[in-house]
Amino acid sequence: MSILNEISELLQAGKRKQVAELCTQAIEQGIPAAEILNDGLMPGMDVIGEKFKEGEVFVPQVLIAARAMKAGTEVLKPYLNDSESTAKGKLCIGTVKGDLHDVGKNLVAMMMEGKGFEVIDLGVDVPPEVFVQTARDEHCDIVCCSALLTTTMPVMADIVKAFEEAGIRQDVKIMVGGAPVTDEFAAKIGADAYTPDAASAADKAIELVSEAN
């Protein structure tokens, strides 16, 4: 097995220390950092994402794989020059105002990082204006909003409106998700996409940024 395959396998198993060690070894062997990232770490996270979508692995396994990925990218960071480390895109993500649930939101953030996005995590109880300001200041391509409660879901409509009022609606794609959210709801409030799970969200995000380019 090539060292890159091995990195992918270990990442899938969530072996954080070994992933970091092998990344160091790969660097020492002269493999470019970008190649280790693109052909070792990211494919490993893709497999986990796929398996998660199919129900073969569950939330905690995604979490430990994401931690292993992070350990690997920490090693690679000094070796990635700016052009190589240019992310797939930039996004901000948060649980909407009035809602404190963050498990689903964190999962999406991990999947997005796994796909190579630069992720700004705004946390929970995030008011619409913070989404708008972050998207504007940080030049985000995508804004991801999460809600677990039927009672906080309407805030997502306020977020879409806030982007319209700020005059930057066409500059971002707005993705919505969370247990009570449906396709129908996303369409009704004028969001760009809804996905039922975190792995599909990451796939959809890739689709949205490639459409935009």
Binding site: G55, E56, V57, F58, V59, P60, Q61, L63, K97, G98, D99, L100, H101, D102, V103, V124, D125, L148, L149, T150, T151, T152, P180, T182, E184, F185
Partner: protein, 497 residues
Amino acid sequence: MKQIKIQPENEPRTLLQLLQAQGVFLSAACGGRGTCGKCKVRFAEGAPEPSGPDLARLSADEIRSGWRLACRTYITKPCVIELDPQAEEAIAVGTAFRKTAETAGSGTVPETAVPVLAVDIGTTTLAAALIYPGAQPPYPVATSVNHQRSFGSDVISRIDASNKGNREALQTLILQDLEALGAQLGIPEQDIFDPEKIRLIISGNSTMQHLLQGLSCESLGVAPYTPVDISLHPWRNMTLLPGISTFVGADIVSGVIACDMDRKDDICLLIDLGTNGEMVLGNRSRMLCASTAAGPAFEGGNISCGTAGIPGAICAAEIGAADPIRTIGDLPPVGICGSGVLEVTYELLRCGLIDETGLLDDDYFDEGYPLGEGLFFTAKDVREVQLAKSAIASGIQVLLHEYGIGSDDVSRVYLAGGFGEKVNIRKAVGIGLLPEDLADRTRPVGNSSLAGAVLFSEQPDLAARFAQAASGIREVSLTETPLFSELYMDNMFFPEQ
């Protein structure tokens, strides 16, 4: 089978909304979002074109024979629908409760007072006990489904419905349910809200108490989840027992009093396993509480063949036994209720058909594990159980940590509620829902919310204890506790068998 003629209206309303307005009960667990499929009705005449959710939730056969989801169907022409006699009317409700040694036998009611109806208003069901002056226990009891269920099965969907203009409709439904409970116990309809004739003692969660009084639920559904009034107070001919917060209500305070936790030196743990798992830990000098969003798996919700505890619901399982499943009333299986969900999970784990990560065996991965005619326990169902049991287990661990004790220091665990009554404790420990070292100190206490209301009815001087418990128990916010998030991940795995 009951047939109802429906006429189109000018304002566009879904069939579910229309039936709700006419007071026709239809279960809609998801609150009318088109995702649970429970509100399906058959059109005998004039079936409209199927909607997207119809096609997603119903089989081609069902669509052909006129089944539609009431929550997604708009009536544009006259039609006739058929309604099943509602199986949910027969949801099993616990009225039994065990009093602890200290409080048992104190059932002496003041001779002068009017009769008292002690009521537990649950999100799913109601239970009441009628206490005449001078009477001795056991008192006559009555139970009913909470007919607000047509607005959704959990408190959040009720709050949402109230906020969307159904505040009065929800209040009317619960007042009717109280009337009907009274009628079951021989109280004439015109007397039930007459202070000269009877007094009602109301226990229940904070949302149910708000809906009963017609209070605004606007602030209940968004952080910081502030209640309007959960103090101990009179309303009409009722006394509302006090709650601690929006998510830890009078039903839990009643449980604390019924279990005498506020008078014991020993540290006890009270757990109510529902969509919101509530728990209280402590003794007479200090108590902490928490609520955790466990989801409805242990009430049969979000489970593909899940159902409430109705006749025919699978409630117990043992793979490999002569009778691998047991149903409520020993009827042919129609679905799986909360205790069944737990038992099937445990059995699959015991037989090695689920591994510790929750992965269902290859042979059953696609279709699910068969439980009976057309009934399966799917890979996704196992995931729902993992989320639910982890939320409870992690909540318990955080409370112990915040209290600064280990599970060894807990002398008793009380399991409240209908699920607690039916749960097999060994199996609950086996899936990691309850801590292993507390198994032999754990016991069900039945409907401790009703028990608290009954105690209050017998001894009005308990008011001070109720009020003190409600104000003295400190709530730990789990979502704001980093330790909870960590444990929540770890506890999603199953213990090794």
